[in-house]
Symmetry: C2
Subunit: 254 residues, 2 copies
């Protein structure tokens, strides 16, 4: 891991890093040292590691809970190079959208997710290895994952594959090809649904919630379209992670 920049602002230390060709960012409380819970945040489609939906979660997790929070760019986004195959698939899907078709019914949609996941899931695991070697993250505290939309699609795959992650906020995804993967998840999950999400029909999201193998899982459904998750769900995710990951310097109590 190479730290490429470090800035401190509003009580938060932001470190940009690369691990091989993986660009990432780590936020921790300014001046903190020693191990603490870590939350990985997976960004949405077309966004990047410092997109608004990542930062709006990361900052309160750091300042309220004292957590470390990390995000990495998905293939073809942010500081990553162009990814020709992803670019080709996105262009085909955009053509269909322009013709009035639903992107999530496009035959290229599962292929796009497979292509992103094939690189992103191992990259997350490589990043987690490296992050846990840092003094101000460590490997003695639990790890959480937060991701909606593409971050939920990738999160279901990552959480099912990665035993170090012990609590997750997921959602805004209803991909039927994830049913069997979701069934392998057994950790506590908070699952977010937008009641009027055109691209993730209510029933498909609930089917995926239903499939989760977790004994503790809660569906949080709110009115509105895909991008209108209310801000009080950020507070709810803070409560959820505080309950399951504990806090900096203490072990989790559940």
């Amino acid at each position: 891991m190479r730290i490429t920049s470090e800035t401190i602002s509003d009580g938060i230390r932001e470190q940009l890093f690369t691990i091989g060709d993986i660009p990432g960012v780590l936020w921790t409380p300014a001046g903190s040292s020693g191990p603490r819970p870590l939350v990985l945040i997976g960004h949405g489609g077309g966004q990047h590691k410092k997109g608004w939906e990542v930062v709006s979660r990361a900052f309160p997790y750091v300042t309220t809970c004292g957590f470390a929070v990390a995000a990495i760019d998905a293939p073809g986004t942010g500081d990553r190079p162009e990814h020709p195959e992803i670019r080709r698939l996105v262009a085909l899907i955009q053509e269909r959208e322009a013709a009035g078709e639903s992107f999530w019914l496009a035959p290229e949609w599962p292929a796009l997710n497979e292509t992103v996941a094939a690189q992103l899931i191992p990259d997350w695991q490589t990043a987690l290895d490296a992050l846990q070697k840092l003094d101000h993250v460590g490997d003695s505290h639990p790890v959480g994952y937060y991701g909606l939309s593409q971050g939920g699609e990738m999160g279901i795959r990552l959480v099912a594959a990665e035993p170090r992650i012990t609590a997750a906020v997921l959602g805004l995804v209803g991909s039927d090809w994830l049913i069997n993967t979701a069934a392998r998840i057994t950790i506590p999950v908070e699952f977010v649904l937008q009641w009027d999400d055109d691209s993730n029909p209510r029933d498909s999201v609930m089917k995926l919630f239903d499939a989760l193998g977790s004994a503790e899982k809660t569906l949080h459904a709110n009115p509105g379209s895909h991008f209108r998750v209310p801000s009080f769900e950020i507070d709810s995710s803070i409560q959820f992670f505080a309950r399951h990951l504990g806090s900096a310097g203490t072990a989790s109590d559940s």
Copy 2:
């Protein structure tokens, strides 16, 4: 209002009262005076004002938020006299249940709810009038309502009828005759659903959630049967009421 007993335990003052023939209980922080937000808790069917599901919510609302919390017995329960018509309807429903029928499909079920509501809704409003005259409750702070199951069935009717209530946790109810009443509700609502609730099928509960006229409404769905609402939903309701009712001595900020 006549206070019939007062005890203090674990930092909570418990006052039993009667208003005419309405028996009730009020919990406030021990030694507190002055106005504060008030939460009314509606108990479940066959329960009473000091049932476990009431007390398990009331106590943390008082100790964590400094709220006043009140509950009254529904007709025919607790310290109320026998109610012959309710008794007759319950007996008929129990006969059907013994014969293997679903109580919520029994023709007596809507009649039972109508009979309870006809007395309980005006009684709640009378109790609220009296409670707001007390120095340690007052009428300068917002009022919330919490009720699941029969407490949800009655709560939807009460909240639709009572403009002093400005935030409510409701749920475990899917009565189709409440659709129009639910549509008249416009305050923020947290709506609780148990995913495997035999007596309130998922779809019927969601239909009622969908019908709510509130701009802010959140469905919280958890696995398990009717009585298995997880305890973290108590914490969630604390966050919800703290957000909407403010706290003792301060105005609400939302």
